[in-house]
Subunit: 340 residues, 2 copies
């Protein structure tokens, strides 16, 4: 039986004809006009679908780390990956690229997964041990390796929303992965910029930035054997922090054991320092890495961008793509360098 | 006497070396780490610097519309334009483009002005008469015409932040203009996209969009003799609305008397409908028009983009430039089409 209702509610990818920007019209999570009249803050309390014992409230798990001999979709896990119950994009179906007059659109094919970072509801990522954060890193890598096998998926974006103001709709600590059938515009811009620099200088632009930051040290927040955390020179937001591997590596999927340990340590350090300095601010982070189906090891350099939500993005930023940042990154870095 | 303090606090424009994105490090409105520990919502109540009688609390006015014979910087005005007391950019000084290792920067030269739209503190733009809104439109045009005379200024962005969540730091209805010594990235993208379409088809892409919208009518919100309001096909945000002139016109500065009357009417209609349908939502709007020092009448088409703030921009949007919109524009337009 063909489920017409399913077809009708398939999310749609639409392209702005002028800028080439894509949007997802997310029919799985549709909000009608009257829905905006009620308070939009997520309900706190009640049953948390990410807590142990409530595994049946999420779709069946994709992957989990936990006690030996644990049965899937029951308790005993330390980290759990599940499909998003209200996905922005759906794995089923084909892309069906089509036009509608001047406009381009396609089916909202993709993946949308949740990484539940800890079984403990009120333990933030910043509160986890280094080895628990390392597990989160390996889960990111595992899931991206798996999504890479689906040739329709061109990019996998790992991100985390922490706090209501940063868009987290559930309190229980989790990250997300959305895999898209197109390489997002911002990613393309970054790849193109890095490629242009490489074509001119035959060096990775991120490696050159790192060298300068390690020499000047005024924007340095933390470093260990394989990772560096810096407040970028052109920070868009107060306390924006980038974590990068010291040794050149384009693709996060190539991360090695020691780098993962050092990355976990660096993430812990930065998140604890942000929490302490700014009283547990809402934040987003995004993993920037190579597109799933591309292999260009020279010009790009994976990294994590952490952006605390301390200021409001307003008309000027929306209209220009220019950001107004009232806190020089040198001052932010100095505050975050203070010993914990 | 050289004021060193002044030089030290000059805002700085910094460029991200990978993406070419510029940021303003706004030293005039500097916020130190400890400033983020207090509640960031703007104080309500107290003395409003934009209310009649308090004219001395703003820098001296640049322009005002008011009663005949009125003295500048006193009451009796209907609309008043003043420099921002805490400008993101400063008019004084030269650009002094320079490099710092891999990075590029320049002085934060530019203009930052406030258009106080009405003397009445609690009268929103949506509450103003058509003729008062028309005055706001003429003030935008006057100020842009004047800023155009300064050859250092390449773009003037007119925008409005309404409501705390949309970044308005003062309640009294006002718009802003920021003029920058570079053409912002988003503006360049839009100009480039429109130019590519024109080179291929020898038609304005916005005119083609308008034709399709007027034919299909499912995303149409309002039209009069010279203006159309539509929910764009690839709306980033729920209830995003664009207002465009029907007849091709690249540069807002060329607007004629009847178009300004019709634009005021269209803005009033859209703002009243948004207010009624969504219970006075916070919103931003941005005027998209030609760069100040360019004259390319064919490919571009000025318009106003209105974005209500109903959803939160989160990690996925920041990382990808992709937007997830839970309300199809066809549904938003249908709701906004309902008679007022």
């Amino acid at each position: 039986m063909i489920c017409w209702f399913h077809f009708q509610t398939m999310p749609e990818l639409r392209k702005d004809p002028v800028t080439g920007r894509w949007v997802i019209i997310a029919t799985e999570r549709i909000r009608r006009p009257s829905d905006y009249l009620v308070e939009s803050s997520p309900p706190r309390g009640g049953t948390c679908p990410f807590c142990p014992g409530n595994e049946a409230e999420t779709p069946p798990e994709i992957e989990a780390f936990g006690e030996e001999g644990r049965a899937p979709n029951g308790p005993g896990w330390w980290l759990r990956v599940v499909p998003n119950k209200y996905p922005a994009l759906r794995v089923e179906g084909d892309l069906h690229r089509t036009g509608k007059g001047i406009y381009d659109l396609m089916n909202g094919v993709g993946a949308h997964e949740i990484i539940v970072e800890t079984p403990v509801h009120d333990q933030e990522l910043a509160d986890l041990s280094d080895s628990s954060i390392e597990k989160v890193i390996w889960a990111y890598r595992d899931r991206m390796m798996d999504l890479k096998k689906d040739a329709r998926l061109l990019y996998a974006l790992v991100f985390k929303n922490h706090g209501d103001a940063a868009g987290a709709s559930l309190e229980h600590p989790h990250s997300q992965i959305i895999a898209t059938p197109i390489i997002p515009k911002r990613v393309q811009e970054e790849l193109k910029g890095a490629r242009q620099y490489y074509d001119y200088r035959e060096r990775c632009i991120f490696c050159d930035m790192l060298q300068q930051e390690l020499r000047e040290r005024e924007r340095l927040i933390f470093e260990n054997a394989s990772c560096v955390a810096v407040a970028p020179f052109a920070s868009r937001f107060p306390f924006e922090t980038w974590i990068m591997p010291k040794v050149h590596q384009a693709d996060f999927l190539q991360i090695g054991k020691q780098s993962a340990i050092d990355l976990a340590r660096a993430m812990k350090e930065v998140l604890v320092r942000l929490k302490r300095t700014l009283n547990d601010p809402p934040y987003n982070y995004m993993l920037h890495t190579m597109p799933l189906q591309e292999n260009d090891p020279d010009a790009y350099h994976w990294h994590i961008e952490i952006i605390p939500k301390l200021t409001k993005v307003a008309g000027f930023e929306w209209g220009s793509g220019f950001y107004i940042n009232p806190t020089p990154p040198e001052e932010a870095a100095a505050a975050l360098r203070e010993p914990v």
